[in-house]
Amino acid sequence: MKNWVKILLTISSKDLIIELKSKEIIVTITLFSLLVVSIFSVTSSNPSNLSAEIGAGIIWASVVFSGSIAMSKFFSHEEKDETLNAILLMPVPIELIFFSKILSLFIFLTISECLIIGAFSIFFNSNPLSIYILTVIPIFNLGFSCVGTFFGIISSKSRSNEILLTLLLVPIVIPLIMFATELTKAGLSGIHSPNFNLWLSLGILFDIIFLVVLTFLFGKIIDQ
């Protein structure tokens, strides 16, 4: 078990070192999220008085699209340099490779969310940080990274991988987006959501189901 954790951290820290050197994903998500938030800001007639519903939509639309761009970049490199094959040739269980990629994407998504929340606070003069959004972030990131890793690897084989990944990813994570926007809305408006427990259960259930099913399917797909 200790050894598996070590391998998981070895693979994920390698992804982070590559990113620290190339800064490719960070630069992409920074520019993209700043662009999306600023477009919403300039098109809004009164950015300081934005409704919680629209605010939550802006935050999660930015996260979903900048996250999917980061994912397609992340996996297209692995495909181009055949480095995923190199890891598959190593004595590492396939499930562990899947989990290590989820962990790396989880970290990239968290960085992207920090940037988006920061940009949102500046452009809309509103602080979205609340217990709600802090609860949402880890649950959303786990589910989104899990589905993103699975489809990222599949779509990296395709020439139009960026479009394909977004097309595959977004419809599946709609329940997760609904969960995230509902709770963020409650955080932005300051009004307690009566369905907090229901939405929280939905988010956690999504994560559990997709983590179990996709871990199983990932092994099968790679085997084939």
């Binding site: 391998i7 190339s22 480095t83 190593m90 004595p91 590492v92």
Partner: protein, 214 residues
Amino acid sequence: MLLTAKKINKSYQDNHVLQDANLDIKSGDSICISGENGSGKSTLLKIFCGLLRPDLGKLSILDRDPYKQPENLFIKQRIGVLMHSNMLYPQLTLKENLLFFSKLLGIINHRSRTYEVTDELNISKFLDIEIYKLSNGNRRKAGFAKSLLNDPEILITDEPEANIDSDTIEIFSNIFLQRLERSKANLFKSHNEKFYEKCSNKRMKLEHGRLLDL
């Protein structure tokens, strides 16, 4: 027997690349596979190293089933692979790449093994240089170094001599031959006559999907 393949079949849609291909590899074998372009040599090597699954046939490596866990982990720990691509991270330095893969291979003295392999291939001076900054020849050497990290029982290589100069071909050949003295086995594909003449003690040709002794 280190590797036994029986009646291996593989098709890409209607193209039957491998048809009942049989092969046995024992300790001390250094087998060169030749054949026309598109005859299925790379496909065969990919099946043996676990990157592809055959449609039909039986494969046993180190007396274990490569399609079962944890048996396949035991096999992967004991084979070395160098395909067409060097399969290295271009943004990482040679040292970072080799340390990363040796950690995954579970090599205890991973630092000393990294230095040992790079010394052997005469690439120690490039240890702190990113792979993308290296020449094609040095990248090939780096890829070869990676495949030697675990001192594999079977070394599977696809044109290891591609992009390298004659001095390096000499180094590669010596490594191939030294491995045979230690009862290891090599399986490779090559179009370089000088290289395969020196490195192989058995030659086979892949023709119409079947492996024939030469």
